[in-house]
Amino acid sequence: LEEGLIFEIGRSEVTGVDIPEPPDFRARLGGLERKVAPDLPGLSEPEAMRHYVRLSRMNYGIDSGLFPLGSCTMKHNPRLNEKMARLAGFADIHPLQPVSTVQGALAVMTELSRYLLELTGMAAVALPPKAGAHGELCGMMAIKAAHLAADQGHRHVVVVPESAHGTNPATAASIGYEVRAIPARADGTVDVEAVKAALSPEVAALMLTNPNTCGLFEPDVVKIAAAVHEAGAYFYADGANFNAILGKVRIGDLGVDAMHINLHKTFSTPHGGGGPGAGPVVLSPALAPFAPVPCVVEHGGALTLVEDEGAAGAEAALGRMSAFHGQMGMFVRALAWMLSHGADGMRQASEDAVLSANYVRASLNDLMSVPFPDRPAMHEALFDDTWLAGTGISTLDVAKALIDEGYHPMTVYFPLVVHGAMLIEPTESESKASLDLFIATLRDLALAAKAGDTARFLGAPYYAPRRRLDETRAARAPVLRWLKSAPLGAAAE
């Protein structure tokens, strides 16, 4: 399967869009006309259709097969949600139309908020953040804003467990916080004593993922929250693993002050090859006043938008996260998912997700090593590479061999606290037959690895659109765009 680039297929005199030439064209551009038209190839529509269909066939998606990526919740993406998001009443409205003409859109935002608040037991939700990491940024800004408002501006440290997502320290650092890491216990959970030891009057917040990145629920989370609050700090929870606990526990009841929610994980909005996401942040009563603008408020039966920092209802707002009001297209999809599941279906979804992960773990633990076997897994099953010792095969090799079996690999080498980690999240949308086939495949691979069939692993994948790619070469002399003549790499150094 080979497919050229549009720059090789297309021609600048061809176009796949028929646009009339305006009559009597006169420019009012003040001499700033483009001197050289952009050198962009055009494709006729048949050519474009074929090109992108062919590219798509080099991809793997949830619809292709099981997608066991830990911490990423690749679940079924209902097409109903796509259809709903494309209703003209949602897709063809402008963020700056008069609010009287977008009451239905504001109602969607209100309804989505209600669901998120009920599921989390929190006081407020900020819808604007555009993805999980953006939500983290928003939540941490709210914490900083709260400290500033309380004359606690000197708090400049954020405590983050070693097992955290990379975005956590990156987010904290990006708004000027110093990151203080704490190690995990041998059982994969955070030690409340280690937290206490790390806390001080300098600490602004603790950032914790719960269920954590080892796939475990932090049993001491309530104590940790209490310790954090006692130290005058806030408790930020990473919501990446929210899918394990819908309808089972409300994070507000655990003492969390802020958590972002990846609508593209738990609430099934499509990952789309890396976005768009949406990362609403739920906030505790203490942080609620510091939510960013805009927000929707009800006013005499009509809904309206508070768009300006400092306006009534947004006096303490942390500011603005981006233009306009957030990822409306994703809100509609997530709400459609919630309405479809209902309270009962959402709890069932979490139970099934957790059940499936534990089933996978229980079905493989005789062949693959489980670093933290003593606790039930949540919606992810974590393995390390102890079982590969002496085989000459690495975690990465197992991942690539899985591709040859028709699967997307699991998450590998994360969390960092486990050596050669393999993190498997089947989600609730796999059938038992599908899980059984996946388990059988992994068992077969494990036996092959132990039997010394190294070629099957080291050279893998053999049957994918590409064999392993030379990432070093890509990074050493980066070629980041197509050029007629020489690659850009040389110049880029």
């Binding site: 646009i19 009012r28 009443g89 239905g104 650092a173 000027g176």
Partner: protein, 447 residues
């Protein structure tokens, strides 16, 4: 429940394998007193038909742009997107795929990102572009942070005619990063004095062209002054279609070009998801935020693509990352790439000309309405009118007449004291009838 494949029998068999009697055993680590006994206080599961009815009812409470004469812009623009674009982005293999961390089975995504990067670079007149940001405003904020890293200075100057939402986004990020921002006052008719704001303390100056009022800005003298002061010029656009007709920032000396790509391939969506474009010079690649697709070869020597320079990113460098951005706008970037591939040079140029012609015609018609003044000497597909009285009231009364007439500047910047200005946009989707209807309605409203 239609999305949940497990049956009661399945669950029982699975629990037997695990060795538990009830699924609650798996939630034992949750403190018992914190576990939810009752179901959340939300409705029960609904069938597809019921969900569709409920959401369609809400959708019907909005006025779609396509159903009325429509002139709203100010950072998001209504364009016609070919049906093939929306069809293709819904292909399972694009829609339901993950970030292309496993390049062997993600060449589709990686190749279109490479195509996207090339298109963005070519459009902006820059050498390199990344694989997209959330939107134009967050791209602008990231550009400022990048300028700080490059110059090791921490003060940004924002042109007064920068979109107020972009300004607020940059100010918010800067405030929490303890960086300084100097934002100038708006000059609706254009001709802002930007040069005097640039000095050796400044890391960058952020200039939008066409600016929020629609005026085109000659970036060349600004670039010269900035470079002389050791600062960077960050050029911003909110209407990427303008680059089909207007001299690109790259040709005018910009160091970083950011903007909103929604116009190409993407619907209005009430503000999101959109796609941020981000381009710069080769020497700054390693300070650039966001993902990058790069060309390489596979073990058999075939051309292939990978995510590259990931040492910049949060999952490698953690607290030293160039940005915390992780998820970006993959699918919106795909829509952009496909639409742009269909357009090509020929189509984009025609599209830009048609947009400009539509706006020129509208400007003439509105200027002829008694009491209305068109402020712009230059513009692309959006311009500013001054009306007698409050712009917000005029817009509301136009809406009551079924015309969505634009954006009162006061909505974007209530404290600017510019309450009589309306930003008015026209695109290829605006018909002559629409434009005539606007002029007529405005005349009535102002009478």
């Amino acid at each position: 429940m239609r999305y949940l494949p497990l049956t009661a029998d399945d669950r029982a068999e699975m629990m037997a394998r695990i060795g538990i009697a009830s699924v609650d055993a798996l939630f034992a680590d949750i403190p018992k007193d914190k576990r939810e006994g009752e179901l959340p206080d939300l409705p029960r599961a609904k069938g597809e038909l019921e969900v569709e009815r409920q959401l369609a009812r809400l959708a019907a409470k909005n006025v779609p742009a396509g159903s009325v004469p429509f002139f709203v812009g100010a950072g998001a623009y209504r364009h016609h997107v070919p049906a093939s674009v929306d069809h293709l982005i819904q292909r399972s293999e694009f829609l339901t795929s993950y970030t292309p961390y496993q390049p062997e089975i993600a060449q589709g995504t990686l190749q279109y990102l490479f195509e996207f990067q090339t298109q963005v670079a070519e459009l902006t007149g820059m050498e390199v572009a990344n694989a997209s940001m959330y939107d134009g405003s967050t791209a602008a904020a990231e550009a400022v942070l990048m300028a700080h890293r490059v110059t090791r200075r921490r003060k940004a100057v924002l042109a007064g005619n920068l979109h107020p939402h972009y300004r607020a986004t940059i100010e918010t990020v800067s405030r929490y990063a303890d960086d300084a921002v100097a934002a100038l006052a708006p000059v609706p008719a254009g001709g802002e004095d930007l040069l005097s704001a640039i000095d050796e303390s400044v890391s960058c100056i952020v200039v939008q062209s066409p600016d929020v009022f629609g005026n085109l800005v000659d970036l060349k003298p600004i670039a010269a002054k900035a470079h002389a002061a050791g600062a960077l010029l960050i050029a911003v656009f909110t209407e990427v279609v303008s680059l089909g007709l207007v001299e690109p920032p790259g040709a005018q000396g910009a160091d970083i070009v950011v903007g909103e790509g929604q116009s190409i391939g993407n619907a209005l969506n009430f503000g999101g998801p959109y796609v941020g474009l981000f381009a710069t010079r080769p020497k700054f690649i390693r300070q650039m935020p966001g993902r990058l697709a790069g060309e390489t070869v596979d073990a058999e020597g075939r051309r292939g693509f990978v995510l590259t320079l990931s040492t910049r990113e949060q999952h490698i460098r953690r607290e030293k990352a160039t940005s915390n951005i992780c998820t970006n706008s993959g699918l919106c970037a795909l829509a952009f790439t496909i639409h742009m591939s269909l357009l090509g040079r020929t189509g984009l140029t025609r599209l830009a000309r048609l947009n400009h012609a539509s706006a020129c015609d509208l400007a003439e018609r509105l200027a002829a309405v008694p009491g209305v003044e068109v402020l712009n000497a230059t513009f692309f597909n959006e311009f500013t009118i001054r009306v007698p009285g409050k712009a917000a009231d005029v817009i509301e009364r136009l809406a009551q007449k079924g015309v969505l007439g634009g954006v009162p500047y006061s909505r974007l910047a209530p404290k600017a004291g510019l309450d009589d200005l309306i930003l008015v946009a026209a695109t290829e989707t605006t018909t002559e009838d629409d434009r005539a209807a606007y002029a007529a309605a405005l005349k009535e409203v102002l009478a």
